[in-house]
Assembly symmetry: C2
Homo-oligomer: 388 residues x 2
């Protein structure tokens, strides 16, 4: 195994009803809480009322930043920073999925500097020097943002969707109640699980490939998602399936399965470019791009794709060439995505063929662990995404 | 999945040469360092010199507690507490395997109380209220003590070997350099890997058994140990194999694979009773007891033993009854232990048949997740341990 550094101090409260421990957990922080959330579904499903009751019962002053959009944008970060500075916010409580948490992380760091967060952190790549502490209550499993120090942000006018990270914005805690994901529309649940699988793929399909614990754990998580997602599609209130999917998604991106691995995150880079132009749901974009990326590049990591087909999908290599086994694994991935209702073409995402050149040229990085891509390669991958 | 709380803030530095980062890591702590270690092998393999150079270079005052024995005893804890109190120790640096780290954890908590550590923590089950911070440099993989808050201690005159834990003694950091395990005698390496497997078994063979991430991760780790231990037996300097075994052992007991699981730790309880009488190496005792415990009790968790046989050992259930499949998995476990040179009988441990009654009556707990044991059951299990 390659060397690594691992440190993940986020506290995880997992299970039905765990939010009852929120008040106690917040005792360690000041009075002024900024509650960030999305489009308001938490007001319909009762989570908003429950959490505000707890916060008020704990004697906190609650401020709110509603309306954090999927693929959160810089404007929302500025809005949050303004509240933090004006109201001397002591703690940010993000309620939602990865978009709300990611946006909150940038607010947290942006609120404790006089510099412009975009210019300083994203353009000049300066380090954050302080951050408002934050924690989350997860309502959508997939991004893993609840237990990592990363954030993805979109600057819409510049058509840039990019990522950033700092240990200072590692969430202090994450409340993971699987029942909080029950009311999620089916496509959002599926997108989240595709995102989980995609995170695992990004770490797994990279060097070194010599037998290593990280890859073995990644395979175990992949199989668990593949086992449980169809159960949750069939019955969204299957507590055990939703539990597994929720914990899978956290473990897929809390850095555990990437330890000692190169990881290239190239499919995410391509998807980010799609989203920067067409604002597609991240998981939906990945469902389209990832199998086609695999199809176009698998020869560069052939033996790993063979291992994947055998270990994750149980495909026998008997009587098959290595190429045939690898391709069977990729086909199984694509078929699985289709079977759970994920999109498989750019058309389904509403992205026209004519945009392929611009999207390909806008990708933030082309370097991969197996063999680097060119802009022309990305164009070819996206053309494959036109075929169902 | 059952609910759980997870928090593991230990920093892990993994890979060849990582100890170079020790000085920087210790900047956060005071000047007076107590270095604890075992029988002196670190003086032969150069680790002692390297670490003391780093500590002196970092301007630390170094105090020493050498001679921490395997199955560490209360006397050694008192010795360490005395040094901590007299020298106003700011940080304990444990260099060794689980025995040294466990002993250091009890010293750490015992040094910050006026109460007698044994009476207060182990007998009255009072909580520790403070502890000297500690960290470790691992030289023997197996116990997982480097990334958990538990310690096992023996009071020899009372023939009690028992465990204790507090989040206050969770190590601040662990330096894991696989090359530091190269010079270990083969039997100690094997014992460590058996201990790792046994930790995984204790968590895996417990309810709930419904499909869950924790069990899937446990299976992945078991398979990784089974793949890598024979490689390390063949070539102790196989860096990749030693890396995997080292990281497996940490992950097997950093609470990850036990999340949402009942866990009964019954085999450890039986082994602790063996060690309390005969001071056998923990891993060697487990190698003898665990397969026979499985053999005696498997019917209580039959479907799980079938799953184990199939998923971990690749045993086909075709044409077999459930019992036959389960037994094939248990036999594979026993054969594996033998193949790597681990003992399989009490005789090999130097434990006479005549001691079985006393050992069985001295077990600290008989409750298991599947079906509780009686003293008579433990006697039967230990009688099975007489047969090769």
């Amino acid at each position: 195994m390659n060397g690594f550094y691992f440190h993940n101090p986020t506290k995880v409260y997992f299970g039905e009803g765990v939010v009852s421990k929120l008040g106690k957990e917040l005792e360690a922080y000041g009075k002024n809480i900024l509650m960030t959330y999305g489009g308001g579904s938490i007001k319909k499903n009762g989570i908003y009322d429950k959490v505000t009751d707890i916060l008020k019962g704990a004697g906190k002053n609650v401020f709110e930043l509603p309306g954090v959009m999927p693929n959160p944008r810089t404007e929302k970060v500025y809005e949050g920073i303004k509240i933090c500075k004006e109201q001397a916010i002591d703690f940010i409580l993000a309620i939602g999925g990865g978009s709300v948490i990611d946006c909150s992380k940038l607010i947290a760091a942006g609120a404790r500097t006089d510099r412009d967060f975009w210019e300083s952190f994203l353009i000049k790549k300066e380090k954050a020097s302080d951050a408002v502490p934050l924690g989350s209550i997860l309502t959508l499993a997939g991004t893993g943002s609840e237990m990592d120090c990363l954030a993805v942000i979109t600057k819409w006018d510049a058509q840039i969707k990019t990522s950033w990270g700092s240990p200072l914005v590692q969430p202090k805690f994450a409340f993971l109640d699987p029942t909080y994901t029950y009311s999620l529309p089916k496509n959002q649940m599926v997108n989240g699980a595709v995102d989980t699988l995609s995170h695992l793929f990004e770490q797994y399909f990279s060097r070194p490939d010599t037998n290593n614990v990280s890859d073995d754990l990644a395979e175990a998580l992949m199989k668990n998602v593949i086992q449980n997602l169809p159960l949750a599609v069939k019955n969204p209130e299957d507590y055990n399936a939703r539990s597994n999917l929720m914990w899978d998604s956290t473990l897929a991106l809390n850095t555990l399965v990437g330890l000692g691995k190169e990881q290239d995150w190239i499919t995410h880079k391509i998807e980010h470019s799609l989203s920067a132009f067409y604002d597609v749901a991240h998981g939906a974009g990945l469902a389209v791009v990832h199998p086609n990326y695999m199809l176009y590049t698998y020869k560069g990591g052939l033996s790993k794709y063979v291992q994947y087909a055998k270990n994750v999908w149980g495909i026998s290599s008997e009587g098959k060439t290595e190429d045939e086994t690898a391709l069977a694994g990729i086909r199984a991935t694509r078929d699985f995505f289709k079977s759970v209702g994920a999109p498989s073409t750019l058309q389904e995402l509403g992205i026209p063929e004519s945009s392929i050149d611009a999207i390909s040229e806008n990708v933030q990085r082309y370097k991969t662990s197996y063999s680097d891509l060119t802009v022309a390669d990305v164009k070819e991958i996206l053309r494959l995404c036109l075929q169902s």
